[in-house]
Amino acid sequence: MFVDIALKAVLIQVVYAAIILAIDKLASKKKK
């Protein structure tokens, strides 16, 4: 139960952060 909820939640958060930071990096590269 804990592994199911915690693992999914953490995974979603990490993927979400990675996508955001990747988009930010791409955007700042494009600006340069």
Binding site: M1, Q13, I20
Partner: protein
């Protein structure tokens, strides 16, 4: 009365608050620098900002609120917690970063720059209400902890909690709260993982299978209750609203923007995106498992949803461990309280008092913030006596901050029109109030649409259509005001040094 546990918890708080307070006072004695009390001199690094933001949001919503909420919402309660991570990660590269770039202290200052003082005052007033509402939930949460330790009735515990919490923030300021958070976050994690380990060790087979089977075999709950989303319908009606309301509120609120504004550089701020989300959801997931386990125990069948988890912890965990765990809970709740109460008090001083005293010295600012803290503490103490359901109230009050995100986004990058901004806020807030207080007279299909959805859609449509139809000033970051400002010059310097 758990005298031993109380002694350890009180000693822990006195030592940490006392030592940190003394250290801060000593360090800033000869320093009356820019924004020292409210912004910690804009000197905080990634870890300090990330932990402060996390612990500000990681209070009653993750602990007592989740203990209570998970017993009605089930596993989908995790989405309330997930919202904080979503908001902080995205905010770090967008709104928080842009706010810091503007060198502001309050959300009111952002809106004054974008739309003028009228709209800023309106939103600042709502921001204060949100901050005080949250601190009243935090007060209730600390009351629940004190109740578990002393068996004194909950309303009296709430009064004790009010006084204790006030001491937490009034001595130092943002920097003190930030320093304490770096200690408290370690204690909280040790305490929560320890509680989980103790519980798993006590359960048959050292896993949650028996708990899972209890809910699967109980017709009142079923499989969906303990699942991650609670099923499609439950997710749409409950999961998303409990997620989007805090998401918008934390993207735009004083509680997070003030901490972000204290960050030493944009680069340091962006890096918090990596760890704030996981840091938050782990605590929420542990809380959900603790409370779902507590509800299955027959000896606590008569205990209310609000108190069942803390009662279970007290009775099954060793006393020495409970002392650490409750010190950790108090630390998290105090931290959240500190962040929100400080946020509201800063808004009072910067957005309201400054209207009448535009040339305040740093000393005067600090005095007015402290007055704001006292007013907030008294008001919050009275409100907390009503003991509302924490997560439902969080969702409701946070929904009122939804239009502010549209105001920021449109105002930063597209167009600024005061009347459109005012219309967006007022129309959506009025509709939300009618939907809430007139629920008895309205059709069921309409009252079933959560106010978070209503406010999000109405405020966005008004902003979009209004700005398409009406004239307005160009977005702030595309305007001359920005390019000619001192903040822009500082931003260029930071960029040159690779910090932005």
């Amino acid at each position: 009365m758990q005298v031993g546990i109380i002694t350890v918890v009180v000693l822990y708080e006195i030592i940490t608050i006392g030592v940190v307070g003394w250290f801060i006072t000593k360090k800033s004695k000869n320093k009356e620098g820019e924004d020292e009390f409210a912004l910690g001199g804009r000197s905080l690094g990634t870890w300090a900002v990330g932990t402060t933001m996390c612990l500000t949001l990681l209070g009653s919503g993750h602990l007592t609120g989740t203990w209570e909420g998970a017993l009605t919402l089930g596993g989908a309660q995790i989405w309330h917690v997930m919202a904080n991570g979503f908001a902080m990660s995205l905010g770090a590269v967008t709104i928080y970063r842009w706010a810091r770039r503007m060198r502001i202290t309050t959300t009111g200052e952002i809106l004054t720059t974008l739309y003028g003082a009228k709209l800023a005052l309106l939103v600042a007033a709502v921001n204060i209400a949100v901050g005080w509402a949250v601190t009243s939930f935090e007060t209730q949460a600390l009351g629940i902890i004190i109740n578990s330790l002393t068996n004194i009735t909950l309303p009296i515990c709430v009064v004790i909690a009010t006084v204790l919490r006030f001491l937490y923030v009034v001595i130092g300021g943002t920097k003190q709260v930030a320093m304490l958070n770096q200690i408290n976050v370690i204690i909280l994690y040790a305490g929560m993982f320890g509680a989980l380990a103790f519980l798993v060790w006590k359960l048959p087979g050292h896993n949650f299978d028996t708990i899972r089977n209890y809910y699967l075999n109980n017709p009142d709950y079923g499989e969906k209750f303990i699942s991650f989303t609670g099923g499609t319908q439950h997710f749409l009606n409950i999961g998303i609203p409990v997620c989007i309301a805090p998401f918008f509120a934390h993207m735009t609120g004083q509680q997070t923007i003030q901490t972000a504004a204290a960050c030493k550089s944009e680069k340091a701020l962006k890096n918090i995106a990596w760890f704030v989300g996981p840091m938050n959801v782990i605590i929420g997931a542990i809380s959900i498992c603790l409370t779902l386990t507590a509800r299955t125990m027959p000896e606590f069948a008569g205990v209310s949803n609000k108190l069942v988890c803390s009662q279970m912890l007290i009775s099954i965990m060793p006393k020495w461990f409970m002392a650490i765990l409750f010190a950790a809970f108090c630390a998290a709740i105090l931290s959240s309280y500190g962040g929100f109460l400080m946020g509201s008090a800063t808004v009072i001083a910067y957005d309201f008092i400054k209207l009448y005293k535009p040339k305040m010295t740093n000393k005067e600012e600090t005095r007015y913030i402290r007055i704001g803290l006292v007013i907030g503490m008294v008001y919050v103490g009275i409100m907390a006596q009503a003991l509302p359901t924490i997560v439902l109230m969080f969702t409701w009050i946070y929904s009122f901050m939804i239009p502010v995100l549209w105001l920021y986004l449109f105002g930063f990058w597209w167009k600024r029109n005061l009347k459109v901004g005012l219309a967006s806020c007022l129309i959506s807030w009025i509709v939300a109030c009618i939907a809430t207080f007139g629920a008895g007279f309205l059709p069921t299909w309409y009252t079933n649409i959560h106010i978070a959805y209503q406010i999000a859609v109405i405020s966005f449509v008004v902003m979009l259509v209004g700005n398409l139809v009406c004239e307005g000033k160009p977005g702030y970051f595309r305007s001359k005001e920005w390019l000619e400002s001192e903040s822009y010059r500082i931003y260029l310097e930071e960029k040159k040094n690779g910090n932005a």
